[in-house]
Structures are given as structure tokens and as C-alpha cells.
């Protein structure tokens, strides 16, 4: 299935075999400690199941400097 992912200001379509947000994070090599997850505009858990067409936003936790 395909989902749309926004991360670090870039929007991309990601193909994955199904599963939940945690699987997507793993596929994109993102440490769950460093992001919050938005799905279709709502904050969700990493265990949230995904379905085709979902809009996922990874909100970066680390910032500043």
C-alpha cells in the first residue's frame, strides 16, 4: 500500500507492505524517540494501523540549537 509522508518539510509517497506506524518508522530508519506522529491531522500512537492513502506527518521533536 502507499501512504503520503511529510518529514523534515518534504512530502513523499512511501510504499509499504502494510502494518502500523512503527513499521513505517523502521522502513524509513527514523528513531521513534525523535518524532511525534500525526495521521490525517491527528496525533496518534506508533502502534496505529495504516491503510492506503493515509497522510502521515512525522513532527520532529529535536530542534533548536
Amino acid at each position: 500500500m502507499k501512504v503520503t509522508v511529510t518529514y523534515l518539510g518534504k512530502k513523499q509517497t512511501v510504499q509499504l507492505g502494510g502494518g502500523c506506524v512503527k513499521d513505517l518508522l523502521k522502513q524509513m530508519n527514523i528513531n521513534p524517540e525523535t518524532v511525534l506522529v500525526g495521521k490525517n491531522g491527528e496525533i496518534v500512537l506508533e502502534t496505529e494501523n495504516l491503510k492506503p492513502g493515509d497522510r502521515i506527518e512525522f513532527i520532529r521533536v529535536i530542534s533548536g540549537g
Binding site: 496525533i43 502502534t47 530542534s63 533548536g64 540549537g65
Partner: protein
Amino acid sequence: MPVPLKTKSEKNLCTCGKKPVFYRRYEGRYYCKACFCESFEKKVKKTIAKYKLIEKGDRIAFGLSGGKDSSAVLYLLHKILSPRRDIKMFAISMDEGIAGYRNETLKKAKELCKSLGVKHHIFSFKDILGKPLDKKIIERGERDYCTLCGVGRRYVLNLAARKLKATKLCLGHNLDDEAQAVLMNFFRGDLLRAGRLGTKTDAALSEKHGNLFIPRIKPLRFIPEKEVTLYAVLKKLPYSDLECPYAQGMRFDVRDFLNEMENKHPGMKFALLEGYDKIVPAISKAVQYKGKLSTCKKCGEPTSHEICKTCQLWKV
């Protein structure tokens, strides 16, 4: 009477029965929006009470960068303290002069202060230190940006807070910032600095320096960065998530390392800080500063040297 066992679906709900937005791994507990915010605020209030961060008649200056941490601490302390007439609050932002970065974060800082009705003061490196950071870096061919900037920021923030007659300088440092500082000080072997970290710092030092240092308080010291971000997002606070273009160096390596460790071993950052806090008295005793605390011969600001670090680097 025995508590009935929860079904699998109930286990993944907040204790109030609502859909969770957060799973606090080190507690093994799910939180909905309202319960998370309530828990967050309770934790911060507990830190304020335990360490006596706020006293009657305080004039609190908030170091406001426009990022999530300082925005969250200003928002929450304003919520807690605004009914108190004896407490005065205002925000101080610094414009270091970093093109394409600070101007963006300052917009958010202004927006938050306006919405809360908090007076906002902006001090620039150009006015206080003579030139903006961008220009200074080019001139010096400086590579250790964070030291140059950090020394200047501490100097300007303390000076500004003192000029505005603040009795406390409130910073948005969170658990991650503090855990990083602990490791960095150990990695550098800088135990003198390690002994100074804390929830309320520089109070004793301020007295030794004729009250030239404004005591710093860190109400978010026991809140992980991820939870501060979630709070700022759920409360829809205006904040900038831009990263400083000069961000580099050991802090960022330590940050990534700690996040890897936390992902594998939940609660590790807490354990690091708790363990550290227990040995602080021993560190302070072992590496007590033996030199004379005085004022800088050039600028008159507090220092343990003849000429302070800011004058050495910035030639104030």
C-alpha cells in the same frame, strides 16, 4: 474486592477510557490529550514546589527563543502564576544575528507573548556585543560556533535579566538537554561545570558575586523533550521547529546517542539524571573552585578570571 482484569482493547486506552495520543513507555501507561496535559502540568508544578523555584514577589524573566521548550514553559508558568499579583513575568529574546533562522523564531516568540499579554524584550548581539554572530564567525574564521554563541548568549541573557530587575531567569531546558549536558561534561572531564548543573542554579554563586548573576530556574528539567513537544503541539502554541544552521559538535552526537539508548532502554535518560543528581554534592566537594570569584576588568561582569570569557571571545 479484586480489580477486574482489563480486556486487550481496554489496555490500550487512557485510564479515563478515551483514545490515547501518547504512550509513556517508562510508566507503561497510555494518555489521552486531556490526561497527558494534566499529567505534564502536574509534573512541572511538582518540580516547582520541590525545588522552591518560585518565591513570593519574584520578577521572572523568561529566556524565550521561540522554540517549543521556552514557549511551553512560558505558556504553562503564565497559566499557573498569572492569578498571583505578587509575581511579575516578562520575556527576553535574543537576536544573535543568524540570518534566515533567528528572525523566523522571533516571529513566533512575539506571537506567543502577544497572545498571553506578556511584555517582550529583545536584545541583540549587535547592540550588546558589538556585532551579529554571522559577521563574527566570518571575521574570526571561527569553527566552534556553539561556544562562541553560547558564551555570548549567557552573557547577554544575564545582563538583560539584571537590567530588567529580574529575580529569576526561567529557562526551557528539558530532560534531554540536561542529560546531554551531564554526559558532555563527563566526556570533557569538566567536573567543575558538572557540579554546577541543577534545577535551580547559580543562586549561591550569585551571592558570592554580589548578586550579579541572576539565579536560573528550569521547571522542565524532568520532562523529556518528546513530551514538551507534544504539550506544545496539543496546546497549539506558536513555535518554530527550525534548527540553527550552525548546529554541530559534540552535543548533537551525544543527543543522537542518548536517543538510540532511550529507544532501546526506556527511562534511561531519567536514570542518568537521577544518578547524576545524587553524586553532585560529592562532585562539588571534590572539585570545588579554589580561585577567586571576581568581576571582569574590562566589562565588570562576574567571572572567575581576570578577563571574562565573553570579553576574551567577543572583545566587548
